[in-house]
Structures are given as structure tokens and as C-alpha cells.
Symmetry: C2
Subunit: 192 residues, 2 copies
């Protein structure tokens, strides 16, 4: 069975997006800087190690994310990558909100979301994305790994990785440390 892997680009001061997030400014002020490494806005593809890491992400078999992540991203037009099933955590949205997107399931329980995502992904990993999903999955004990793409910039303000999780300690073990152009990819196993 695959693993659930949180995947986030993060600044040196711990932010995953800048301040002033709006639907038109989805990653906040300067937040798009965090995505330069995979050249989201460029026509060229990512290079070397970055291409390999992005290939792993896009090889996942299901996606779990929160409403706060998917809504500013326009619900990914109903398909994050390759038609894999998407499970969105929300206390307020319902199935009727997403019926135009058959790949998307909305539910409010992270353990159920992860169980269904893992079942759907089979041997492939589950891509977990977003601050809310990160905190919920880690707190519920259903997060297996964390991959951080550490970007050599500081944003100063914005939204922090694991924001709102509280002061309960969690421990990790590094399993991979690889450098790509302009980014350090650090992969950890969740210990607690």
C-alpha cells in the first residue's frame, strides 16, 4: 500500500504562502516565489532533480487537500493530475457543490478521506496538500511522510506550514535530502 505524503514548498522562515491571500492572489504576496523551482509560470519544464521530484508528485494515485487550498485554485478545474480521485476536507461544502467534477469527493473526516484515498491509490502514494490538511492529517495520525521543498527566500508574513496545529510535539526522521536548482528537497517519515 502507498504512503500519504504531505508535499509543500516552504520559505526559510516557514511560510507556505505570503500575506493577503485572495482568489486572485492565491499564494499571497510574493507567494509564487515558492513555486519557481518547478517553473509553474514558465514554458520550460523543471530540470534534473526538480523534474524527478515533480514526477514523483505527479505519479501519486490520489489527492487529499483542504477547501482552503482547492478553492483559491479554482478546484483545479476538477482534475489535479491524470484523473486521479481527489478528496477535499470541508465542514461546510457538500456533494452538491462538486457534482460537476466527478473526480472530487467532499467529506469532513480526515481519517475517512485518507482511507478512501489510499484505497483508490493502491500501490501508489497519496499526495496530501495544504496547511489545513497537513495539520488535520498529522493530528489524526494518518500522515506517513512529509516532503518539504525548502526555497531560499523569506516571505516575512503569510501562512505557516502546520499553522493552527497547537503546541503538541511531533517528531520526524529524515529519509532523503536532495538538492535541485534553487531548492532543497527534504523528505521525512512521521514518527509521532
Amino acid at each position: 500500500m502507498g504512503r500519504s505524503v504531505l508535499d509543500m514548498s516552504v520559505s526559510l522562515d516557514g511560510f507556505v504562502c505570503g500575506p493577503n491571500e485572495t482568489p486572485d492572489n492565491g499564494l499571497g504576496d510574493n507567494g509564487r516565489r515558492l513555486h519557481w523551482w518547478f517553473r509553474e509560470d514558465a514554458e520550460a519544464d523543471p530540470e534534473g532533480v526538480n523534474a524527478q521530484v515533480m514526477g514523483e508528485l505527479m505519479g501519486t494515485g490520489a489527492v487529499v487537500a483542504g477547501r482552503g487550498t482547492v478553492e483559491p485554485a479554482g478546484w483545479w478545474d476538477g482534475d489535479h493530475h491524470d484523473g486521479v480521485p481527489i478528496f477535499i476536507l470541508s465542514r461546510t461544502r457538500t456533494a452538491a457543490d462538486v457534482e460537476q467534477w466527478p473526480l472530487i469527493t467532499v467529506l469532513d473526516d480526515v481519517a475517512e478521506a485518507m482511507a478512501r484515498a489510499k484505497a483508490a491509490a493502491g500501490d501508489r502514494d497519496v499526495l496530501v496538500h495544504g496547511v489545513g490538511a497537513a495539520a488535520a492529517a498529522l493530528s489524526a495520525g494518518v500522515l506517513d511522510e512529509v516532503q518539504l521543498h525548502l526555497v531560499p527566500t523569506i516571505l516575512g508574513e503569510g501562512r505557516r506550514l502546520f499553522e493552527g496545529i497547537g503546541a503538541e510535539p511531533h517528531e520526524f526522521e529524515l529519509t532523503r535530502n536532495v538538492e535541485g536548482p534553487g531548492v532543497t528537497h527534504l523528505r521525512y517519515r512521521v514518527l509521532s
Copy 2:
């Protein structure tokens, strides 16, 4: 001439100390976890790469820090390491407060503090330490390098690296990435 190098242990969620800092709880709740890699509380010395990195730190020729760092640490009893000069940034303290410690100079201008520290250190680097000193030195353009000791834990709450610097962007370039037991040492050159 040596370089000014900010040196901080930081959690995966960007904190350099936990919540509830007090003089008796200097690194905040769970904050001492960030110092395990150099075995501050243990009788054994740090190992391998960690010993090398700690040796570099202790080979610096002057120290620049903020009052918020040195006061909870009891002014390091007047000597951070090896009798090198210490420059403390403070708007409220005066020379009279530190006259019992001849190695310590208190001043309120970070550019002057860094110039004097570099002159005193000669060919050796200047160790910069603390959230306030980090933000002040980076904003003033007198910080040459940043070394982060990335510890595989999250604290959830506390004080962030570069807290209070505002949303002005700053860029860095990785110059070294080495793994020690239980910690990743990342060294960056400040670009802007």
C-alpha cells in the same frame, strides 16, 4: 575579513523557540528540543558533522546578538566562548548595565555593532544570534550568511526566525548542505 553569519536552530515549521518563554524557560515549551543535536544537556560531545559545525561556531571571533537573546541566557555570564568580544543590540540597556562584563558592549545601531564585531574578529567570522539581531542585520544589509540547523520536529507555536521583519523579500543562495545525526545544516549566502 570574516563574514557575519546568523546561526540558528529551527524547527520544520519555522520556529526558533517554543511558546511561553520566560527567564526560567529560555527557549520556551519544548524549545530545548532544537538544541539536542549539539547535546547541550548531555555529557557527551556532539558527533561527526555536528561536532565540526559546532567547532566552526565556536571558532568565530566575535558575537552579535540582541537583548532578547542574551538576557534569558543570563548574559552568558559575560563570556559566550573563548573570551571573544560580544556586541549586544539594545535600545534600553546602557554601558552601566554590563560594566561587570568587560567583553560585552551594548549599543543600539546594528551597522555599528557589526562593523566593530568584524574589526574585532579580524579574519574570523562573526557569530550572529537571535531573532531580533537576525531581522535587524538582514534589514540593514549587514548580514553575509545564514546557517540554519533544521531539526526534524515541529513546535506548533513560539517565536519564528526573522519574526517582525515585515514582508520585504530577501533572497539567499545555498552554499552548503550537510547532514549530521538528527539535524540538517544548511548554509546560505545572503543575496538581498
